[in-house]
Amino acid sequence: MTADASVSSALPGRRRLASRTVATRALAALPLLALVLWLPSTNDTYGHVATYAAIFIMVGLSMNVLTGYTGQISLGHQAFVGLGALTAANVVKTGIVPADPFMFGVGMVCASAASGVAALLLGAVALRIRGLYLALVTLVFGSVFADAIFTLPSLNGSDAGVSAYRPNSLASDYRYFLFALLLAAGCLYIDQRVRGSKVGRGLIALRENELVAQAYGVSVLRYKLIGFTISGAMAGLAGGVAAFWSQEFSDKNFTDVAGFNLALTFVVIAVVGGLGSRGGVVLAAIFFALTSPISPLLQSLANAMHWGTYYGNNKFYVSNVIGAVLLLQTVILNPGGLGQVLRPFSRWFAGHPFSLHDPDGGDTTAMEGGGVRA
């Protein structure tokens, strides 16, 4: 290619200026970061819930890679999270003593690897079928896989659960939160790198049009499997963190209705957050963690309004209804999800002038363009 490169030579100056603006504006996010780091340290319950939010962020990003970028739907993601939890608990085998730090690390890696491989296998199925049929297959895969493997007595501690005590250095809820936050940040980094490299571009091209992707040289086979594997590995890691968060692996969290509820919540996080929108998905994950039945947030809100008993009896329904309502709201009124709402801010942080009107319309096609094949 002998085209002249004078365009790019004019850019560095402008770019340096932009990066200084970005650095200044990033300072605006510091109070938020301070809040995230400080609040969970004030009380054990906050630390516990904040860790749950970090786990949801990891799963949310896992869904973002699979559904947002690759355009494949999964209604069986609880199986990958559960497999991660099961693997971590069984590899580390703490018994009644705190985990050995080295084995703990090995357990996390194994959790991620196991779910990555399982997702790869599901991806092989997805090469053959698409749309509603794929959604059905993932649904069946999720529940059958969970019911068949998680309930094996040798793997679930003979139905009593497998204990997973944290290593001493992470014993406090706050420390464990910092650990989970670090891994969530790691997933965020991977998501960002995927999006900024040929991998994410290949996945998105696949999502929109397999013929075009192939004409650009993207192998459908390879990239679908890559999408599934990255997603599975993130979900497995989240599962590993979850096992040591609750300090045991119990199959009951991932099978039957509880498991299906989780799977639905994961899909809702991805859609409400905005398909393919990292920031939106993180925000949605935090929201759904804070309004989940394990969080005291809604309980204290209900107490204040004298509905405490009612809420206490109906926690699970309430969180399902919140998810369903937000899902409908997103699909009908705001197809770009939270990511779309956040765009003026994300553009501002990227060094553009602040404007509520989005000059290029934003990426709403992830939903509209039939991108998600279901």
């Binding site: 002998t2 490169a5 790019s8 790198r193 040929k198 929109e208 459908v220 096609t365």
Partner: protein, 255 residues
């Protein structure tokens, strides 16, 4: 460079292409014409590997590539555009040009996922290359626009840019001038000739616009109902009685 030998493809009872043979030599711009449903796009899909022909061979640089899958053909240097604009609609013009450089990225997928130094350096090169292509086509001002809302003519031009970004030796263009007015189409003709002159790209194009074909094509094949009707230079083909009959009906010829 490209040779098709006795290509036949059937879909159930329909013979879309029947014993087509054609040849494209290095540096040539070859036109493929024919009425709607003649099998032109089907021929493209056989060349690029989206369809597996029932019979016959596709040779590229003398090598039989009939069964090579499409994404590998892209890596071999066969670029293509689509009839109804094939690009990633939710992405910006720049991102589309980056996507198109997939096989030229020069780093492994894993490097991209973990964000290694190699990938970051190469990404900068890819952006510079994409910007150079935008500049070449005079599209620099739509660099960061999502392409979903752009006018059709601009999309066609950008798609040509994307096809160029795959760094092809052979470019298959499916109706590059559709949606363009006469002036734009003249401009496109000059552009195609310039591309050949500067980049040495060989082209095979499906085109209905006769002035454009006459201006750029060294050789023209005309298809009708999957069969080769006529071949030769543009002037010869244009006056060929069977070609006129195929386009306008037999009475027009008689009259």
């Amino acid at each position: 460079m490209l040779e098709i030998r006795d290509l036949t493809i059937r879909f159930g009872g329909l013979t879309a292409i029947d014993g087509l043979s054609l040849k494209v030599d290095e540096w040539e711009i070859v036109g493929l014409m024919g009425p709607n449903g003649a099998g032109k796009t089907t021929a493209f899909n056989c060349i690029t590997g989206f369809y597996k022909p029932t019979r016959g061979h596709v040779l590229y640089h003398g090598r039989d590539v009939t069964r090579v899958p499409p994404h590998r053909k892209a890596a071999m240097g066969i670029g293509r555009t689509f009839q109804n604009v094939g690009m990633v609609k939710s992405e910006t013009a720049l991102e589309n040009l980056l996507t198109a450089q997939h096989t030229k990225a020069g780093y492994a997928a894993l490097h991209g996922i973990v964000g290694s130094g190699v990938a970051r350096t190469r990404e900068k090169d890819l952006v510079a290359h994409a910007e150079a292509i935008l500049d070449l086509l005079g599209l620099s001002d739509i660099r960061d626009r999502r392409i979903g809302g752009l006018p059709y003519g601009t999309l066609k031009l950008l798609e040509l840019g994307c096809a160029l970004a795959t760094d092809p030796e052979l470019l298959l263009l499916d109706e590059p001038s559709s949606g363009m007015g006469p002036e734009e189409s003249d401009e496109l003709g000059d552009r195609l000739l310039a591309l050949r002159r500067e980049l040495g790209v060989t082209m095979l194009l499906i085109e209905h616009h006769v002035p454009l074909v006459t201006a750029v094509c060294d050789y023209v094949y005309v298809l009708n109902f999957g069969k080769l009707l006529a071949e030769g230079d543009a002037e010869h083909v244009r006056n060929h009685p069977e070609v006129v009959a195929a386009y306008l009906g037999t009475e027009a010829v008689a009259g």
